[in-house]
């Protein structure tokens, strides 16, 4: 649609929805909505962190022994993968804002590869846990941890938190693929990049949750 017809709406932004006065107002509403959503996401994980805290307090020795049973190198590898992909998604947003389309696509491709890499490492970890029987509830059958009371509860919380997080990785990855399609089609430009920004914010949230999950589950 051309915007050069010289009428009152000539300056109307092509991506501006009818119910907003200006593009600034629309961007402001979109960002506020996203931060509200991120706030609810923080509180969603907060419930699980709280469960972790309570059981850790009740079964301190169990928690210590079970966290030592996790593979710290895989956890560390996943932390490095997520931190680096957080950098590249931030660079992708910057590239869109300065109009470097190809750089933006390249950065998003790298981010998506990191997301897949994260899920592959997680898969290997889960597979190992299944082999050892370090599983939640009645499926728990790991001989060397049997002596610790409520060791199965540790793995309930481990699978709940990392599983919900992995689900977020998959959703965020899908959002980034969708955003990348928009960049390839030329929909997002230095004049209109808010969807890219919100997708990047969601990816950063995934990183943020992992920053807390990693030390709590693997280290202490």
């Amino acid at each position: 649609m051309s915007s050069s017809d010289g009428h009152a709406h000539s300056s109307r932004h092509p991506h501006l929805a009818e119910h907003f006065e200006t593009i600034q107002q629309q961007d402001y509403a979109a960002r506020l909505g996203m931060w509200l959503f991120l706030g609810t996401e923080v509180l969603l994980f907060a419930g699980l962190f709280l469960g972790y805290t309570v059981y850790r307090h009740f079964y301190h020795a169990t928690w210590h022994a079970c966290s030592q049973a996790l593979n710290v190198w895989m956890g560390m590898g996943n932390t490095l993968v997520l931190i680096s992909s957080s950098l590249t998604v931030a660079l992708a947003l910057w590239a869109v804002r300065v109009g470097k389309k190809n750089l933006a696509i390249g950065m998003l491709v790298f981010t998506i590869i990191c997301a897949i890499g994260f899920l592959c490492i997680k898969y290997l970890e889960y597979k190992h846990k299944f082999e050892l029987g370090e599983l939640p509830g009645k499926w728990f059958r790991a001989e060397e941890l049997m002596q610790y009371p409520a060791a199965n509860m540790y793995f309930t919380i481990y699978f709940l938190t990392t599983g919900l997080h992995a689900f977020h990785v998959i959703v965020a990855m899908s959002v980034l693929i969708w955003v990348m399609k928009g960049i390839i089609k030329g929909r997002y430009t230095p004049d209109y990049f808010v969807p890219v920004e919100l997708g990047a914010l969601y990816w950063h949230l995934v990183d943020l949750v992992w920053i807390f999950l990693f030390p709590l589950l693997y280290l202490i």
Binding site: S10, R31, W35, L38, G39, L80, L87, A90, I211, P215
Partner: protein
């Protein structure tokens, strides 16, 4: 109008030109923090003070999270309302965690699930041979 748009985006570009450097600096700090937390995480630091390990690990995690929120998530250029929203959710997170801690720290030992009355608590009363009053068997 077209002119104004160009200046606006040029302005935004300027503001963003120098921030890629800060992204890389933040990334290096985040990597360093990760290595530091792994190195200290599985070393026993309890000779410093009882919960030194968890305090250090959470401090590093909070520093990392703040860097991600402030630089990568652009909180430093975000509107005031967005800051309030995010900070409020963290405040409620703390209220929730410390509210529960208030309960945990002030509990009577008998209400804790790991509590075994035979080793720490008052003596357990075992009924013997159908007697319902087990005290004084000697």
């Amino acid at each position: 109008m077209a002119e104004a748009t160009t200046t606006d985006s040029a302005h935004a570009n300027d503001a963003h030109q120098h921030s890629t450097k800060s992204y890389f600096v933040v990334w290096i700090i985040l990597l360093a923090c990760t290595v530091l937390t792994v190195l200290t995480g599985r070393t026993d630091l309890s000779h410093l003070f009882p919960s030194a390990n968890i305090v250090l690990a959470l401090t590093i995690a909070v520093i990392k999270a703040s860097l991600v929120v402030w630089y990568f998530m652009h909180m430093r250029e975000a509107a005031g309302t967005n800051r309030i929203v995010f900070v409020t959710s963290f405040v409620f997170l703390l209220v929730m965690i410390f509210g529960v801690f208030g309960d945990l720290w002030t509990r009577s030992p008998m209400t804790l699930p790991y509590h075994t009355p035979t080793t720490e608590g008052p003596e357990i009363m075992v009924p013997e041979g159908g007697h319902h009053a087990p005290a004084h068997h000697e």
